[in-house]
């Protein structure tokens, strides 16, 4: 028996034959950037995950963690994948007491399922990452993706208060806990959140919830870029407590233009101010925002507002497999300058998350990859000049092979490598998709 065959046999014994897939046809459904895993394991518990990781680590078999696969476009093309470790079966609700405003669930729980559970108690997990609600909590934490409510509620980094993590040495550890305030020991939650499955496998998460806002709506206005920038400045420094502030260029808006009660010219931005709150405060927020944005501003509610929110949320989600999406992170006041740089190009869409300093952008048609590559380099330079950086979040495999998706000069790589060696000494976790092969 070959070493691989013997490793596979050991792994299969951990989860059972029915939860261990090796048939070519089946595992093909799990390929990423053209790489097909040798096997797919579907563990049922954190202990099984830990045993899988230990065996894989001992046998030098590379492991790629998978929730529902919605965000696997993130990351460099993987090195050969030994095993995909799927959390499809680990979707149980562990503990939810509404009065605690926290919830604990297994990593394979989908965002949609969680929102449904907490929604019945008038609560939400204030996260709306791009893509469908089939995204899993483990995946959302590993990628630290946030959405339209970022400026008010933060990212998974802010909302995760406890984790159960399976490590490559076969142990399962708890980080953090169940209380919102907890300074006992080091904040290892922060280490695993946003580490793209390269340090350990998040098996369960405890997260902060918040009360559902009583009411929400969107005020939008079509504005020339300088006016939009001015309005952003005003809204950010106001005390109106805006929940969402996004600015889309005309190429981005073409996708939803028909559904909106404003007309969009080629040299105009569409600004969305999302308001959330109680019925007492919303009318005043609305009238002040309308006043600030001028006579062209309009409010949308109900289904129209929902579809606008969905558009904003999904702007950063690749429209089709292989679509190019770049993310620029810049200091808050520079977001629209970044948008201007992109909007000067024909056929490039841009949506600025102006309350958090992010800009998502990409070509409407990414046919000419050499050109796209050049422009991405230009965008990265622009971001750096504005005091930030750029990441290629999604793109065709060819482009991801060429373009340094996470950036080139990563600070403190030595410390990150030491952390990686500490938790994954044989380097089997993540298949080299994170920056500089971490």
């Amino acid at each position: 028996m070959t070493a691989l065959a013997s490793a596979l046999r050991d792994l299969e014994a951990i989860v059972g034959e029915e939860n261990f897939l090796t048939a070519t046809q089946t595992v093909s459904g799990y390929q990423i950037d053209g790489q097909r895993p040798v096997a797919v394991a579907m563990p049922g518990s954190a202990e099984e995950v830990a045993r899988l990781l230990r065996t894989a680590s001992e046998q030098g078999l590379s492991v790629l963690l998978r929730g529902s696969g919605t965000h696997l476009y993130l990351g460099a093309p993987p090195t050969p994948i030994g095993m995909v470790l799927s959390f499809a079966r680990m979707n149980r609700l562990v503990e939810y007491d509404a009065e605690d405003l926290t919830i604990t669930a297994e990593a394979g729980t989908t965002l949609g399922a969680l929102q449904k559970t907490v929604g019945e108690h008038g609560q939400i997990l204030p996260l709306d990452p791009p893509g469908p609600d089939s995204a899993t909590l483990g995946g959302i934490a590993a990628t630290n993706l946030s959405g339209t409510m970022r400026m008010r509620y933060g990212s998974p980094r802010d909302l995760v208060i406890g984790l159960r993590v399976a490590l490559a040495d076969g142990t399962v550890v708890k980080t953090g806990g169940k209380t919102v305030k907890n300074v006992a020991g080091y904040e290892l939650n922060k280490l695993f959140v946003s580490s793209l499955g390269t340090l350990g496998a998040i098996c369960a998460l405890t997260m902060r919830l918040t009360a559902q806002p009583e009411a929400k709506q969107i005020v939008l206005a079509s504005l020339p870029p300088p006016t939009a920038a001015e309005a952003v400045r005003h809204l950010l420094s106001s005390r109106l407590d805006i929940a969402t502030l996004e600015v889309a260029n005309s190429a981005a808006c073409r996708r939803i233009a028909r559904a909106l009660p404003v007309t969009l010219g080629p040299d105009r931005y569409l600004m969305f101010a999302g308001l959330m709150g109680d019925r007492e405060s919303l009318p005043r927020q609305e009238s002040e925002v309308l006043h600030l944005l001028g006579p062209g501003a309009a409010r949308i509610q109900g289904e129209d507002a929902d579809s606008a929110w969905a558009f904003l949320r999904n702007a950063a989600f690749p429209a089709a497999p292989g679509s190019v999406v770049a993310r620029l992170s810049v200091p808050l006041s520079k977001t629209l300058e970044a948008a201007d740089a992109v909007s000067s190009w024909d056929g490039w869409w841009a949506v600025a998350r102006a309350g958090s300093g992010f800009l998502h952008a990409g070509p409407v048609d990414s046919g000419d990859l050499a050109d796209v590559n050049q422009r991405l380099l230009h965008l990265r330079q622009t971001a750096q000049e504005l005091g930030g950086f750029a990441v290629l979040e999604a793109g065709p495999t060819e482009l991801k092979r060429e373009f340094p998706i996470w950036g080139e000069n990563v600070h403190d790589l030595d410390l990150m490598q030491k952390l990686k060696e500490t938790f994954d000494p044989t380097g089997v976790l993540g298949c080299g998709r994170f920056l500089q092969g971490l």
């Binding site: 907890n182 020991g185 904040e187 600070h411 938790f423």
Partner: protein, 466 residues
């Protein structure tokens, strides 16, 4: 202290900023906890580079070092229990960059929290973390402890508001983690460093997120005949879908202490006072405040009033902020704990703490950030009573067990420091603690950064287990 090391320290910060007189050393031998240790030298660097030079000397000679802000630490985090060098950051108190358009401030570690708030307020901005010690405590200390404060309920803790750090690693290397822009690719070294209690190195500068001040705030004050009823009101308010900015409870012992030292007009014949702060837009708060007040009345509050004026609000908050100092005046000595529990477990935990009080014949003054289950049990004892400290410590130990028993934590905001490493095993397994130790060793393989804090000694890991 080794003569060559001392020469090195003097060279690093200048002769006048390296203290070795016993009287000076004594001043830096303790913080606001019961931990003590005599340092070999105290240095007062003026820049990150000077801190790095000091740490290099320490690294070269294998001398432990402890960074110190204002010394308000309540867990012994800034006490030099293993001797060595105290790096006092009080001279590093400049706001380096007040970046209003980007809503960021870059400050040195020794900037006092309240001083920063006072600089920000005229611009309509705030730095959200507001520990009760904010008049004295420094941002560097807030970051090292991942400090909380009453307003965490709405805004989260310190780490949620820190985007970048300049640190001196225990090797003497200067590093800059994070920036004004968010979500840099790579591991979250900023998040990891915040709350590491000075054991990963010395944080010298920080990039902070600022937020607009709320336009308006209102405070509801309710008095209850039982602590449980006050706790019940907190649960109901949360369940009703409101997220006040703060929900604070003080018990009878604390109210009496406050009234004795800083009279604020609180009645001393009630068992609990609940302070609820709601904030938001002017004119939009009456409904929320009224709903909170009526929930209190439904739970048989003796009274529930809405304080609408800024003066009223300030009077009540200063009563709350002075509670710690006032309680300390009640008794010659006080052991401070801040166990934190899931908020729904508060009523049963309170009952158990009252039993502990009776069992040990001690008075425990209770102040809590009830909205997030953070329970400050201040155990009063008489240091001259030979058995006093022992009984107080026994009571504290039992409180930690109670918190651990309901899936709470041994510290919500004060830190583990020197006082609680032996209780870590109440809430973490050996493997959990080993994972933390591995991270600590990545940053400080030689173990010279604030040794003896946070993690139990490897061989002592089993102590304290129930």
């Amino acid at each position: 202290m080794d003569k060559r090391a001392l020469r090195g320290l003097r060279r690093a910060v200048g002769r006048h900023n390296a203290l070795t007189e016993p009287a000076d050393l004594l001043l830096y031998s303790y913080d606001s906890s019961t931990a003590r240790g005599m340092p070999g030298a105290v240095v007062l660097p003026a820049s990150t580079e000077e801190v790095a030079a000091v740490v290099k000397v320490c690294a070269q000679h294998g001398i432990p070092f402890v960074a110190r802000g204002a010394g308000t630490n309540l867990s012994g985090g800034s006490a030099p229990i293993r001797g060595g060098v105290v790096i006092a950051l009080s001279r590093m108190n400049r706001v380096l960059d007040l970046d209003l358009p980007n809503q960021r401030a870059v400050v040195e570690a020794g900037v006092v929290n309240l001083d920063l708030q006072n600089i920000l307020a005229p611009h309509g901005l705030q730095f959200c973390p507001d520990p009760a010690s904010q008049k004295a405590s420094t941002i560097g200390g807030n970051v090292a402890e991942n400090a909380g404060g009453p307003h965490c309920l709405k805004y989260g803790v310190t780490v949620n508001h820190v985007l970048g750090l300049t640190v001196v690693l225990p090797s003497g290397d200067i590093r800059r983690f994070g920036s004004k822009a968010e979500d840099a690719p790579g591991y979250d070294l900023v998040g990891l460093f915040v709350g590491s209690e000075g054991t990963f190195g010395v944080t010298t500068e920080m990039v902070l997120r600022l937020r607009p001040l709320p336009e308006s705030t209102q405070i509801v004050v309710a008095f209850f005949d039982t602590l449980e009823a006050a706790g019940g009101a907190v649960s109901r308010i949360i369940a009703a879908g409101m997220v006040p900015a703060a929900l604070e409870i003080m018990d009878k012992a604390t109210i009496e202490a406050v009234e004795a030292s800083f009279p604020s007009g609180l009645p001393t014949d009630v068992e609990a006072v609940l302070l609820i702060e709601v904030e938001g837009l002017e004119g939009a708060l009456d409904g929320q405040a009224e709903r909170c007040a009526s929930i209190c009345r439904e739970l048989e509050a003796r009274s529930a009033e809405i304080g609408r004026t800024p003066e009223e609000r300030e009077r009540l908050w200063s009563a709350r902020r002075s509670a710690f100092g006032a309680t300390a005046r009640l008794s010659p000595a006080m052991l401070v704990t801040d166990a934190t529990v899931p908020r729904t477990r508060l009523p049963e935990v309170l009952r158990q703490i009252q039993q502990i009080e009776r069992k040990h014949g001690l008075r425990i003054a209770k102040i809590f950030h009830a909205g997030d289950g953070n329970l400050h049990s201040n155990i009063l004892f008489d240091r001259d009573d030979p058995d006093g400290l022992r009984r107080a410590e026994a009571a504290a130990t039992e409180i930690f067990h109670v918190a651990a028993g309901v899936e709470g934590t041994i510290t919500g905001e004060h830190g583990v420091g020197a006082e609680k490493p032996r209780f870590m095993s109440l809430i973490y397994s050996r493997e959990d603690i080993e994972a933390q130790r591995k991270v600590q060793r990545v940053f400080d393989p030689a173990g010279i950064a604030n040794p003896g804090k946070v993690l139990p000694e490897p061989e002592a890991a089993a102590e304290g287990t129930a």
